[in-house]
Amino acid sequence: MSDAALDRQEPAARRRTARRRVPYPYTFYIPAGVIYAVMFLVPTIASFYFALTRWTLFDSHFIGFGNFVQFFREPFLVQGLVNTLIFGISTSALKVVLGLALAVLLTSRIPARGYLRAVIFFPVLVSFIGVGIIFVSLMHPTRGAINVTLETIGIDGPGWLTTPWLALYSVIIVDVWKGVGIATVIFIAGIASIPSDYYEAARIDGATKAQQFWRITLPLSRPATVTVITLSLIGGLRTFDLIWTMTGGGPGFSSDVVASIIYKQYQSGFYGLSTAGNVVLFLLIALVMVPLTTWMNRREIDI
């Protein structure tokens, strides 16, 4: 719901300017308008209202900002917020760095390039739940493939998902492994669209491979970078499925993110409280993303 609301601001603005020139009657808007109102507008407005009530499924009563007060008093909310930011920023950063590196590799002349591109992309096709369940068993502290392998070379592997400080980072690694394929594909498209004239000119001027990367590839794939950062940061900030399947926010509360805290409130039947949490998450993502995307899209590219 929160993403949808963000996406929809733009077309609305465009529609207003186009109005005078379009010769069709406004009634043509009705089908789309009705669907939009029923599926998005009404629930969004309703959620703002229900966030102010304490409701069971059977009745509700208005308690003002009580849910927000309660939500911010959640003992693990601060840690959840910190974890959310750590998760969003580090997965986003790793996907940019690794995605760009892989894209450079996979656009150069190497054997089996098409196959390697496919291999990088495969994890994207698997569902989060499936990936989560597989890695839970791979990361089992005593019987998991990772620690069993480490044992054969004499390393006593940690409890990847059961050590409180490590659990979140284990999930981050898996999220990057699963999501880097998308970043790579976007970067490949970005790099492929750079005109080869620039590289030829650089070669004639005697630029090294490294110089070509830093002076041409990196600045000119900026639109791709912006896209990757935007997508992966939004995805990271509202991440839920992988955390939930791999750790359930645990051990204890140590890998809780805002979305998993909200889900637990919902599960326990605190519907008003979880709705308030979703409003908070919506505002949080908007607060981070709106300034960031405005800033990233405004900067001009200089070579």
């Binding site: 069971t56 059977f58 059961t162 409180p164 051990p251």
Partner: protein, 433 residues
Amino acid sequence: MEEEKTDMKTTFRRTGLALVALSAAAPAWAQDPVELTFLVDNGPPSVAQAEALAAAYTELNPHVTFDIELRVGSIDGDNLVKTRLATEEMADIFLYNSGSLFQALAPTRTIVELTDQPFLDVVSDSFEAVVTADGGVYGVPIGPGFAGGIMYNRAIYDELGLEVPLTWDDFMANNAAIDEAGYVPIAQTYGDTWSAQLLVLGDYFNVEADSPGFAERYTNNEAKFATDPAALRSFERLEEAYEAGYFNEDFGAATYDDGIRMIATGEAAHYPILSLAIDPIAEQYPDAVPDIGFFAQPGDDPDKNGLTIWLPNALYVPQASENIDEAVDFLAFVASQAGCQAQIDAGQVSGPYLIEGCQLPEDVPQATRDLVPYFNDSDLNLPALEFLSPVKGPALPQLTVEVGSGIRSAAEAAAIYDEDVKKAAQQLGLPNW
């Protein structure tokens, strides 16, 4: 009835529907074929019980057939049941927990009251108490009663010459001997977080023994886990067990299935769990069944040793059902000796039944036999706190995982749990919170 007047939106329609169903259906139902929908959770015991009861009932009443629907269990199932009740799409009969979870269903507005039905005479009072809301009774028991305590491996006890402990100190002394002998003293399985709660929940008999009336004061916001020494002791026992290093190495990742394996194969000597665990053991490790016993979680005083029991789930009929008469008649069968016998014949013998006159056969598993003396003497058992109070904090699984993993101290966890409880009580709209 008082309460129904205050809720304007839907009650008139629901009561109206119920009255129509009562008056219209009564004379004709005996002949017309009826199919009753029946919603149960997908746990193997629930499915087996529901199927056995439905088949036995259809045999006696051929015009009634059942469509058994399965739903997910645990906390996701809770939301499904609440949603279907609230939208009046509930099956004619549904299986759900008794106790605090039942209270959250707003029973006076959603469930058909059974208070004056004669078939309740044979249902034990302790069960009726946990399906009672505002003085009315709303459900009948399905399946046997069970307990929270310590499942133990009798073969290891025999080998080491140990005796069933009556105090926590004896229990820890046994653990030391077991550790010495190279077995895992206590199996813990935090991969399934719910199982982490057992050392705290199963300790409730001891809490009440040392702090009589705790449940009532707790419900009235007068007693707290952090400040009542007897209640705090439950958390401290978990902490002590962790600090002594008595858990299996992979306790953080092990699952309930691993726990079943450890106790059945003699890898571990103790597994604090619900007595229901004997069912999967009987299924997966039938040879191990005679080796498995069960004892109450010991407290500090050997003279006050008793069992914390769990009352069975219940069957309910929603007010929105279109076949209330037939559904209630089925409930009458479930609460009868014949219904009880049908479940026993289907192998559901993990604990005693709460129907008067319903006897378990002689050849039940040892772990079940260990429960019977506690169940038979009302001084030796007490329902768990979630049956004596409508309030249960939802974060207890995570908090007990933290205490049992040494992430947080018992005192701190108890204080956080008190806050969690407060949230749940406010949601229920209890007075004094």
